[in-house]
């Protein structure tokens, strides 16, 4: 069965002025895959995320989501097509409570759009799902706390919660465990594993334990180019990767 990849990047390029940040990235991410993108600092991993999710315009190339070209679409249009992303620097709604943050992430997907004729309290499915996600990210004791009083770990959990709440087909997580303690990281990995079940996951991550524990496919980005894209075992044994990146941190 030949399936359309969930996400397909074709000759992606991004220049900032004369500086080439992304220098021709081709990548196919199959449906249901847990795909990690690794690479040294400054390799362009976050930029790649921004290009795919429509946060910044690309210079050249194509992005296809389930076979549909989404190049140049505004980010809300891309989100409506089932791609949801998190941010490396926490990016939530600071003056809304935890539960309201999660509701915001659910309303469009449940078809309420810009409605001002529905009462939020009467949206049973939205509210049930929001409570459900809140339990999953273990913030049920902080239900009505404003996001701007949450601790760092709680914010990271909320960030993931907002990203996965609407059950997107493609989940993109930008360093989900950055700055977490060991036990928090373990919790986060468990959570990511659970919520990405049956979905496509793309993540940027520096913690190699997380990468090799979660991913079933790894791409290595160095200076804006993918130098290897393979299964974890093959990446581990890849000489170029070891030289460029792993050798220093993960030998």
């Amino acid at each position: 069965m030949s399936t359309v990849p969930a996400l397909e990047l074709e000759k992606l390029r991004k220049n900032f002025g004369k500086t080439q940040i992304i220098r021709g990235v081709d990548l196919k991410i199959e449906r249901g895959e847990r795909h990690a993108i690794i690479g040294p600092n400054g390799a362009g991993k976050s930029t790649l995320f921004h290009l795919i999710s429509g946060r910044i315009p690309l210079t050249e190339g194509q992005v296809r989501l389930n076979g549909e070209t989404i190049t140049g679409l505004p980010s809300y249009e891309i989100a409506r097509r089932g791609l949801s992303r998190s941010f490396q620097i926490t990016n939530v709604f600071p003056k809304l409570s935890v539960i309201q943050n999660l509701r915001c992430a659910l309303l469009w997907a449940h078809g309420y759009g810009y409605s001002f004729w529905h009462r939020l309290s009467a949206l049973k499915r939205v509210n049930e799902r929001a409570e459900d996600v809140m339990t999953q990210i273990r913030l049920e004791t902080r239900r009505d706390a404003l996001a701007n009083v949450l601790s760092y770990a709680e914010l990271r959990a909320l960030e993931i919660g907002i990203t996965i709440a609407a059950e997107p087909q493609v989940i993109m997580l930008d360093e989900p465990t950055a700055g977490m303690s060991h036990s928090e990281t373990e919790d986060a990995v468990e959570l990511i594993r659970r919520v990405s079940e049956g979905r496509t996951l793309v993540m940027v991550e520096h913690d190699m334990g997380v990468v090799f524990g979660l991913a079933d496919h790894i791409s290595v980005l160095v200076y804006g180019e993918v130098i290897a894209s393979d299964e974890p075992a093959a990446i581990r044994g890849n000489r170029a990767v070891q030289e460029a990146y792993l050798g220093t941190e993960y030998a």
């Binding site: 809300y76 309201q100 001002f116």
Partner: protein, 440 residues
């Protein structure tokens, strides 16, 4: 919604409706009723403004354009009704004003909401200027400087209610103000209402949960335009005249003051601000020509010491109230009120003496709270200055008492552990920024 909340909301809204109905029993004079009507109009206007600013994060300097244009279309409808060319009930004229406000906010809102933050504010300033200029440039439609007058006793009447009396007019304003307030409150609890908060907080993230922030801002502006138009129509019916003042920047600035003084962080904040400011404008102006200066001072003091407005002061007391510890604050608050009164007395005496001397057509003597003083001699100035100075010193000490009391209170509240419903107030802050600069 549990039983308790249901009861509370019934209490608040039912109580509010009863209060509106009962007010004329106490304030039965026409002048009082007219002040009450002005308050109702201001409440609708300020709430519609806060829909933009407090809830949607859009600082507008041109909101009077929408209330004013709503007012102009209402007076034209009223004039047509006076001529007999249009048969329409006066009771429903605010709907005409609302639709007009909405209609104008479509093109203006489309332009303004393309931007947010400071550019948005500048565009609205431009729109305000544009409309104010257009009103004077097109006297055929807007009646020039003199404006347009009409008679509200006209059109289709129901049950003999013709709005000939000030009392009937008050009830018309009260009814529309109540309905508008309820509708605007309901709006805050809808998907678009929540999303307008989200766009205010973080418009970028809103895009990644599938919302177009411009679309959200635009829709909010159109809905706010409707309620601004309603307030304009109510003003039209109350005064039976509309002139260039109604679209002016003065009015746009005034509504901003109301929202800020009342507090933009809570739904009910602008209601308090509108009531207080209307009261000051109508009552203070009877006693002193310096009333505008006092309002300015009030605004300054609010922004310095309680930037969240009156409503934030009330909300900050929630945890203490629920824990039953309010009584502890009372002594220090009484001290603060007394100290504030001394400071106020000093300020007022100096300001009034200045005004007295600068007034060319001044009366023979100046009477301050029944005491006749002569500002041409140094004595009163020295006394006034001394009182002012004493006021500053007393306020300084009183503020110290208040902040010490709050610190103890916070400690005790934290020791009890935050109640779930208080979670968002877990870091209870004193309502007044600490004067001595010991802010934590």
């Amino acid at each position: 919604m549990d039983q308790n909340q249901r009861f509370r909301s019934l209490f608040v809204w039912g109580g509010g409706a009863l209060l509106l109905m009962a007010l004329p029993l106490v304030f039965s004079q026409n002048t009082h009723l007219s002040v009450l009507s002005r308050m109702g109009i201001a409440v609708v206007f300020a709430l519609s403004y806060n829909m933009l600013f407090g809830q949607g994060g859009m600082l507008s300097f041109g909101h009077a354009a929408f209330s004013g244009l709503g007012a102009y279309l209402t007076i034209h409808a009223l004039v047509l009704m006076n001529k007999g060319t249009l048969a329409f009930p006066v009771t429903l004229l605010p709907l005409v004003g609302g639709l007009a406000g909405m209609l104008f906010s479509v093109p203006f809102g489309y332009v303004a909401t393309k931007r947010s933050g400071t550019p948005f504010a500048m565009i609205t300033l431009g729109i305000g200027e544009l409309v104010a200029a257009a009103v004077l440039m097109l006297p055929g439609f807007f009646g020039g400087e003199a404006g347009i007058t009409g008679n509200r006793v006209t059109g289709v009447t129901w049950l003999g209610i013709d709005y000939g009396s000030q009392l009937q007019m008050y009830y018309l304003v009260a009814g529309w103000a109540f309905a508008s307030t309820a509708a605007m409150y309901a709006f805050t609890r809808t998907p678009l209402g929540l999303l307008s908060n989200a766009v205010r907080d973080n418009s970028e993230r809103a895009e990644f949960v599938a919302y177009n922030p411009k679309q959200v801002r635009f829709l909010v502006m159109v809905i706010a335009g409707f309620f601004a138009g309603v307030s304009g129509a109510l003003a039209t019916l109350t005064y039976e005249i509309v002139n260039a003042e109604s679209v002016g920047l003065q009015s746009s600035g005034n509504v901003l003051l109301m929202a800020f003084i009342g507090g933009i962080g809570q739904f009910f904040g602008p209601i308090l601000g509108a009531i207080l400011l209307t009261l000051l404008q109508s009552v203070l102006s009877l006693f002193t020509p310096a009333w505008l200066l006092y309002i300015g001072l009030l605004f300054l003091a609010m922004m310095l010491f309680a930037p969240g407005g009156l409503s934030s002061i009330i909300v900050a007391h929630g945890p203490a109230w629920r824990a039953g510890l309010m009584l502890r604050l009372v002594p220090s608050y009484l001290a603060a009120v007394a100290a504030g009164a001394v400071l106020l007395a000093g300020t007022v005496s100096l300001v009034e003496m200045c005004y007295f001397l600068s007034d060319t057509g001044r009366p023979a003597s100046l009477s301050l709270a029944g005491i006749v003083v002569d500002p041409r001699r140094p004595g009163p100035w020295i006394t006034g200055g001394a009182v002012l100075l004493a006021g500053f010193v007393l306020v300084h000490f009183a503020a110290g008492m208040v902040s010490a009391q709050w610190q103890r209170l916070r400690k005790d509240l934290n020791a009890r552990g935050p109640l779930r419903r208080d979670a968002r107030l877990a870091q209870a802050v004193p309502p007044v920024a600490e004067v001595q600069g010991t802010t934590t």
